[in-house]
């Protein structure tokens, strides 16, 4: 905060914002002009005479974002009733700040504070009486689990911090404030455990936040795109989660969390491929059950990217591989289909993507329609009209269904785009070009770094870590923190030797 103010003051020296005047009239006139008083309906001021000094006092605020009771209890009543030598003695609210120029004043009013001007005083005071409206804490809907806490982050920074603090009682847990945006300044909180976090990564996070050049960064989803290294890359390098429990477990490992108002979630950096692959439920389930679920998810990962492409490669180029009965069945089903096989697959994959997109956008009451239409188009009708062969329906259904097991929204898109890349390459030269595309894709992903951490760490390159990659260890055997992010304290168990 301090650093930020300093920065503002430095820029002030050039443009010279108007300082707070001793005369109330001048102040009032200036601030009314700044906020287009009269035109701006919710910009309000109150005028009163303070009891302690018998001076005229004016209080400015946005009525829409402050708590009217608080204004009365914390400001108006003390001023009218209390005695004292100076204004500080009268207003004893927890956050009274002295303000000397209008730049600051504007900013404070914008963030829900009330500004007090006193006649004959060239210092204004800002008192935090903000009351932004936000949604209550809801259930985590996009990352659903069966076991484990169901709370989700909500669109309020303070509530979100409180959700994290509730889970982690650690004096080293720091929430560092930062402001981004040139016009509308939004508060960003960097949350980390001070004696765990790697300073270099922290520094790089701070730098990236400082380097954002934008008028307004409304929320985390946008912030993510400002701070990531490679905006054009196929895979995400920042993890977004709406579960405070998940966020806390990353904090405990020494990761950094970024919180913001207006986002029901948090960003986690740095992350690896495995972070996207894991689900919080893996840890809430017992060792064997959690790992079984990971195995299934890995299979889903493979199927959703590869099954359509593999089907094309095998049937178009390597039909020798199919068992004769299956071969004859597929051949028979294709005898009356008017399109080449790759075209069939593309029709169905695109149809599936359409249904998916429409399913997200469709208003809730119309939801069931999508199911009926989808089932009709994708299923029976297309087959009966001889547009596609029935086996394609199975293939696309598997490929579509398994894509839902890839839970993270960002990686889900990567996987779906990858699928189309693979389909085209399989149609080119079968397994030969498919494997080429796969290897190129794989090496591309392996070359991605998230805040300096290689994407497939700790599998390769390997670090001292719990090796929580494809499978996880039993929780009681997890001695180390993930070494790829280089935490200050790598040992997870305080007492054991």
């Amino acid at each position: 905060m301090f650093k930020f103010l300093k920065k503002v003051q430095q820029t002030d020296s050039k443009s010279e914002p108007e300082a707070v005047h001793t005369k109330l009239d001048k102040n009032a006139q200036h601030i009314k002009q700044l906020f287009s008083y009269g035109l701006n309906k919710d910009f309000t001021f109150r005028e009163l005479t303070a009891k302690y000094s018998q001076e005229k006092i004016e209080i400015y605020y946005y009525s829409s974002i402050v708590d009217a009771n608080k204004v009365y209890d914390a400001i108006v009543r003390p001023l009218l009733e209390s005695e004292g030598k100076q204004i500080r003695d009268v207003i004893v609210a927890e956050s009274v700040k002295e303000i000397t120029d209008f730049e600051q004043a504007t900013e404070h009013i914008n963030s829900g504070k009330a500004i007090i001007f006193e006649d004959g005083n060239n210092t204004a005071y800002s008192i935090d009486v903000a009351k932004f409206e936000y949604r209550g804490i809801g259930k985590a809907e996009n990352e659903s689990t069966i076991r484990g806490p169901q709370e989700a982050f909500t669109e309020s920074l303070n509530v979100n911090v409180s959700l994290i603090r509730k889970r982690m009682h650690d004096k080293q847990l720091v929430t560092e404030g930062k402001q981004v945006g040139a016009r509308s300044k939004s508060e960003v909180n960097i949350v980390y455990v001070k004696d765990l976090v790697n300073e270099e990564i922290l520094k790089s996070v701070r730098e990236r936040l400082d380097n954002i050049e934008a008028d307004n960064v409304r929320n985390l989803e946008l912030l993510e795109q400002f701070i990531e290294e490679r905006p054009y890359s196929l895979v995400p390098t920042v993890l977004f989660t709406e579960r405070p429990g998940n966020a806390t477990s990353y904090l405990e490992d020494g990761h950094i969390i970024i919180l913001m108002n207006n986002s029901a979630g948090c960003l986690i950096v740095p992350v690896t491929f495995w972070s996207f692959f894991h689900s919080p439920e893996d840890r809430y389930l017992r060792f064997l059950f959690g790992n079984f679920s990971r195995l299934v998810r890995m299979l889903a990962f493979y199927l959703t990217t590869m099954i359509s492409a593999t089907y094309i490669a095998i049937t178009n180029f390597h039909s020798a591989m199919l068992p004769p009965d299956l071969l004859l069945a597929i051949t028979a089903s294709r005898e009356r289909v008017p399109f080449p096989l790759i075209f069939e697959i593309l029709i169905m994959e695109i149809a599936f993507e359409l249904i998916r997109e429409a399913g997200i956008r469709i208003p809730n009451p119309l939801g069931p329609t999508i199911g009926i239409v989808g089932a009709l188009i994708l299923g029976q009708a297309a087959v009966q009209a001889n547009i596609i062969s029935p086996i394609i329906v199975i293939i696309t259904a598997v490929s579509g269904l398994t894509s839902f097991a890839v839970t993270d929204v960002s990686i889900n898109y990567s996987v779906r785009i990858t699928r189309f890349i693979f389909i085209f390459s399989a149609g080119f030269l079968g397994i030969f070009s498919l494997m080429g595309a796969f290897l190129a894709w794989f090496m591309y992903v392996a070359s991605i770094k998230s805040f300096g951490v290689p994407f497939f760490a700790p599998l390769s390159p390997s670090y001292r870590s719990p090796h929580d990659t494809l499978f996880r260890k039993a929780i009681r055997n997890e001695i180390w923190r993930p070494g790829q992010i280089k935490p200050k304290d790598i040992r997870k168990k305080a007492n054991s030797k």
Partner: protein
Amino acid sequence: MRLKTIILIIMLIPLFLVGCYDKKELEQQAYVVAIGVDKTDEKGLYKFTFQIANPEVGSAIVGGGSQEEPKETVSIKGSDILTATNTANSFVSREITLDHTKVLIASEELARSGDFIRIMQSTARTTQIRRGVQILVSKEDASEFLQNINPKMETRPHKYYQLILDRAKETGIIPEAEIHRFFQITEGDADLFLAIYATNKKAKEKDDGYEDEYVAGQLPKEGGNNSQFMGSAVFKEGKMIGTLDGQETRLAHVFDPTLDMDDLLSTYPDPIKEEFRIGADYSQKSSPEINIEYNKNKPTKINVRVPFQIEIIAIPSLVDYSQNKDNKELLKKTIEESLEKKSRELIRKTQEEYKAEPFYWSLYIRKYFKTIEEYEEADWNKNIYPNAEININFDLERLEFGKMLNDSNLTEVRD
């Protein structure tokens, strides 16, 4: 960045345009499940028969097409298999694919002519015909054999070949005759290769044989389809020189450590009541022990010991063999002797008639030689084996009598 992307895309587009060389849609191919080869009057020209599976028959997905035949069998003249597939395309509408071939059938006439190995050479060159394809010799012309195969229970021809060959091989009445083995043995030039012998034609039935003493065609049977797979065709240096009946093929399985056989039910003479025979399940837990004593100038000695087990499954004579110790010993001896006698006959046949053995025993002599040159000079095929002293010894390790302690007493029953 933008320029790079554009260049990349421009480079990629032609790749997609040209990329279709080996792409073949499934319905544009015809899948051959069996290939037949026959001799023609001209030298170097053969008649090839392709049996093609019809995909539409037998698959539930497609409604119509049930009137179509499950398979199409076509014959064409040509000089080798692959070029013949092209010629056949003048009347077969789809590209002929040999990847799913299960059997390669040669007529006995061709097999005996010595041209067979020329055909086989061309199969090794292509990747389409796998090394696991079985070689079958048909008594009649291969084209005739293929035309007349009409399985009653299996609609799809590949299933038929797969099932009947697997099962017959398990019982040991036909040999394992993969192309791979054909090449190893023929190129090794030391042993005899056994191919499957089959026919569709009934020969004069042989009524006096016991359960496996037939070759294909001789089986006195009623019902079922006409095709018979029984016994083996003996190839020496890629040329057929004779046939073995089912029993001899089974014995060849017994002696050959590289082959195995799962199921061998057969009968042996009843030592006490000679008009009956005893049914038994023969099984072998370990390979036969083959000891070759190689002598450079005098006949080589080959000692073979076959450990085996017998489980009696039927004693029609109702003699008590299970409780009576003497009877049991007698039975044991009879079984051993009966097997040894048959073996000696087979060995004599191979030594005198074929002058080579089908048991892959040449493997056991190899260790006496350091280089291939020495080994080939010693000549197992011409020198060592035909003159060897062979001693076969069957050793019954365990005799069991199934789950019944004793048979029902006939006299009491009739009382």
